[in-house]
C-alpha cells in the first residue's frame, strides 16, 4: 500500500485533472449529440406513424363524402329503392327501419343499463365485480354472436317470434348497447361527489329520492354522453341485423316484420357490379357516416360541458 503523493501546486497534478475534465466534457458532448440525433430520428418516425395512421382514415371519410354527396338529394332520402335497372329511388325505407330498430333498442337498453349501473354504484363486493367484468367482456364479444343469440332466442325454431323481424334486431342491438350504457352510466354516477349523497341522506331524504334528484340529475350529462355513444355504435352495426332483420325494400313500420336498415342497404349493394347499386351504397354510407359522426360529436360536446362545469 503506497500512495504516491504529488507535491502540492505541481504542474503534473493540475494537468492531470484538466485533461480528465476535458475528456469527460468531450465524451459528454459526443454522447449528447448522439442521443439528440437518435431522439430526432425517433420523433420523426413517430410523426410518420401519425401521418400513416391518419391517412387511411381521412382518405376513407373524404372519399365517402365526395362519392356520397353526389348521390344525395331530397328524393334520395324520401323515396323507397327502385328495382335494379330503373333509375331514381332512395333509402327512405332504410332510414325509417334504422330509426325504429335503434330506437327500440335504446328503449330496452337505456333503462336496464341505468338500473344495472345503479346496482354497481350502490354495491361493492364480488357480485358487483362480476357484473362489471361481465360488462367489460361483453363489450368485446363479436356483434355477430349477439345477432345469432337474438336469432336463437327470437327467430329460430321453438322461439318467441318465429320469423325475421325488426324487433329481433332491436334485441341484438340492445345487448350490444347494454355494456356501454352500464359502464358509462356507472362512471357518470360515481363522478357525483359523495358529499352530495351524504348531504341528501343527512336531511333524512329517502335513498330513492336522493338518487333521483341528486345523483341522476348530477350525472345527467354523463348519462346522455354514454347513451349517445351507445346509440352511435348501434346505428352502424351490420352483422347482427343481417341475421335478424333480413332487410326490406318497401317501407315497413311494423317492428314484427322484416325491415330495412342503412347498414344492410350498404352491405347488399356493395358486392354488386352495377354502378347504380354502388352509387346507392356510397350514398347510404355517407348518410350513415354523417349520422354516426353527428351523434359522436354531440356526445363529446355534452361531456365537454360536463367537464367545464366540474372544474368550476
Amino acid at each position: 500500500m503506497s500512495l504516491t503523493v504529488l507535491p502540492a501546486g505541481s504542474g503534473d497534478f493540475t494537468d492531470a485533472i484538466g485533461t480528465r475534465r476535458e475528456l469527460v466534457r468531450e465524451s459528454a458532448r459526443r454522447s449528447l449529440a448522439r442521443r439528440r440525433i437518435a431522439g430526432r430520428i425517433a420523433i420523426a418516425l413517430c410523426m410518420v406513424a401519425v401521418a400513416i395512421s391518419l391517412a387511411p382514415l381521412v382518405a376513407l371519410v373524404a372519399y365517402t363524402t365526395s362519392r356520397g354527396i353526389r348521390v344525395l338529394s331530397w328524393s334520395f332520402l324520401t323515396h323507397v329503392p327502385t328495382p335494379p335497372g330503373i333509375p331514381g329511388g332512395g333509402i327512405s325505407s332504410a332510414i325509417v327501419g334504422s330509426v325504429i330498430i335503434v330506437g327500440l333498442a335504446a328503449v330496452i337498453a337505456v333503462p336496464v343499463g341505468t338500473m344495472c349501473a345503479l346496482f354497481l354504484v350502490e354495491r361493492r363486493g364480488r357480485l358487483a365485480g362480476a357484473i362489471r367484468f361481465g360488462a367489460d367482456v361483453l363489450t368485446g364479444v363479436p356483434s355477430i354472436a349477439l345477432g345469432i343469440f337474438a336469432y336463437a332466442v327470437l327467430i329460430g325454431p321453438g322461439s318467441l317470434i318465429g320469423h325475421f323481424s325488426g324487433l329481433a334486431g332491436s334485441f341484438a342491438l340492445a345487448v350490444l348497447m347494454l355494456p356501454i350504457v352500464i359502464r358509462a352510466s356507472e362512471a357518470a354516477m360515481r363522478s357525483v361527489p359523495r358529499d352530495l349523497w351524504e348531504a341528501g341522506l343527512a336531511l333524512g331524504v329517502r335513498r330513492s329520492r336522493v338518487v333521483r334528484s341528486v345523483v341522476l340529475r348530477g350525472a345527467l350529462p354523463g348519462l346522455v354522453t354514454g347513451n349517445l355513444l351507445a346509440v352511435a355504435r348501434a346505428v352502424g352495426e351490420t352483422a347482427p341485423l343481417f341475421v335478424t332483420v333480413l332487410g326490406a325494400s318497401l317501407l315497413v313500420t311494423n317492428p314484427l316484420q322484416p325491415m330495412g336498415a342503412l347498414s344492410l342497404t350498404i352491405f347488399n349493394n356493395a358486392n354488386q357490379a352495377l354502378p347504380a347499386a354502388q352509387q346507392l351504397a356510397w350514398g347510404t354510407a355517407f348518410v350513415l357516416l354523417v349520422l354516426v359522426l353527428v351523434l359522436s360529436v354531440v356526445a363529446r360536446l355534452v361531456s365537454a360541458r360536463l367537464n367545464r362545469q366540474a372544474r368550476r
Binding site: R35, G39, L60, I148, V153, P157, L178, R190, A270, N271
Partner: protein, 332 residues
C-alpha cells in the same frame, strides 16, 4: 316547504344499540328504499340472465353440430356442402392470419402515434389530433368494408401486391396472382379498423405514467426521446399490452368488413395474396342460406368457436387492464 320536509323525516330508529347500522332497516324498511332496491336488483338480474342466456342458447343451438361430428368439428379441414360440413380448421387459420397481419401493421404505427400524441406533440396539436382519431373510431365497420372493397382493392391489385412480389425476402409470403381481395387486404382493412382503438388505449396508458418518473429521467440527463423510451413506455407497458390484446379481440371478431374484402374461398391459403375465409366471414356467407337443422347448427357452431376465442382474448386483456389499474392505484 315545511310539509314536504316533514313527510321525508325517517321513522324512528328501530335498532336497539345506538350507532349500529341495521342494514335491513336502512335498505328495506322504508317503502322508497324497497322499491329502489327492487329496481337495482332487476337491472342486475336482467343483465346476468342475458349474459348467461347468450352462452347457453348458442351452445344449445350448436349442440346438434357438435353431437354430429364431435370435437373434430374444431379442426375439420374439408368443405362438404351436401353433408353440411364446414372447414372450421381453415376458418380458424384464416382468422389468425388476418388478425396477425392487422396486428403487425397496426401496433407499431398505433403505439408510435400514441407516444407522439401523449408525450412529444405540443398541446395545440395533440388535442385536435386525438379528437380526430377518436371520432374516426366511430366510423361503422360496413363503411370501412365498402371503402376497402371498392377503393383499396383495385389499388392493391394494381400497385401494392405486384410491388410486394418484387421484394426479395418477403416474396415468399406473396406469391400467386394478385386479385385484390385477399388475406393481405383483409388484414389491412382490419388494421385500419383497430388503429384508433390501439391509439386511444395506449394514449391513456402513457398519460397515466407518474410525472415523477419523467422528471427523474430528465434529471439524469435523458433527452426527450430517452425519457419516453426509458421511463414512460416501460411504465405504461401493461396498459399498451392490454390495448393490443383488446384490439386483437376486435380484429378476431370482425365479420362484415372482412367478408367483403377477403374473397371468400374455402381452401387453405397458400399465400397472403390468396383469397381465404375467416370464422366471421364464413358465418356471414353461410348463415342466410343454411338449411334448418344440422346445417344451421353447424354455422352456429362456428359462432361458438368464434365466441370462445374472442372471449378468451378479451378476458386476458381485461385482466391485464385491471392489474394495471390496481398498480396505478385507481379505485374502479
Amino acid at each position: 316547504m315545511s310539509t314536504t320536509l316533514l313527510e321525508e323525516v325517517p321513522p324512528p330508529r328501530l335498532s336497539p344499540v345506538p350507532g349500529v347500522k341495521d342494514g335491513l332497516q336502512r335498505r328495506w324498511a322504508r317503502p322508497g328504499g324497497r322499491a329502489y332496491a327492487i329496481l337495482r336488483w332487476t337491472g342486475a338480474t336482467i343483465f346476468a340472465v342475458i349474459v348467461i342466456g347468450l352462452v347457453v342458447s348458442l351452445m344449445a343451438s350448436a349442440s346438434q353440430a357438435f353431437g354430429h361430428s364431435g370435437l373434430s368439428f374444431l379442426w375439420s379441414g374439408t368443405y362438404n356442402a351436401t353433408k353440411d360440413i364446414y372447414p372450421t380448421g381453415i376458418y380458424i387459420i384464416g382468422t389468425l392470419i388476418t388478425t396477425a397481419v392487422a396486428i403487425v401493421l397496426a401496433v407499431p404505427i398505433g403505439v408510435g402515434t400514441a407516444a407522439f400524441l401523449s408525450e412529444l406533440a405540443p398541446k395545440w396539436l395533440a388535442g385536435p389530433l386525438s379528437v380526430l382519431i377518436d371520432l374516426i373510431a366511430a366510423v361503422p365497420s360496413i363503411v370501412v368494408g365498402l371503402w376497402g372493397l371498392l377503393v383499396l382493392s383495385p389499388v392493391f391489385a394494381r400497385h401494392v401486391e405486384p410491388f410486394l412480389k418484387k421484394i426479395p425476402v418477403l416474396e415468399w409470403f406473396f406469391h400467386g396472382p394478385a386479385y385484390g381481395p385477399s388475406m393481405l387486404l383483409a388484414g389491412t382493412v382490419l388494421a385500419v379498423m383497430i388503429l384508433p382503438t390501439i391509439v386511444a388505449l395506449s394514449r391513456t396508458a402513457l398519460a397515466s405514467v407518474a410525472s415523477e418518473d419523467r422528471e427523474a429521467a430528465r434529471a439524469l440527463g435523458a433527452t426527450r426521446w430517452q425519457v419516453v423510451r426509458t421511463a414512460v413506455v416501460p411504465g405504461a407497458r401493461t396498459g399498451i399490452e392490454a390495448a393490443v390484446i383488446l384490439a386483437m379481440g376486435r380484429a378476431l371478431g370482425e365479420t362484415i368488413a372482412v367478408s367483403l374484402v377477403i374473397g371468400n374461398n374455402n381452401a387453405l391459403p397458400h399465400s397472403l395474396l390468396a383469397p381465404g375465409a375467416t370464422l366471421g366471414s364464413a358465418i356471414i356467407n353461410n348463415f342466410g342460406e343454411a338449411n334448418p337443422g344440422l346445417d344451421k347448427s353447424s354455422v352456429i357452431g362456428l359462432v361458438v368457436v368464434l365466441l370462445a376465442i374472442t372471449a378468451l382474448v378479451n378476458i386476458g386483456g381485461q385482466l391485464l387492464l385491471r392489474r394495471r389499474l390496481r398498480a396505478v392505484g385507481a379505485t374502479t
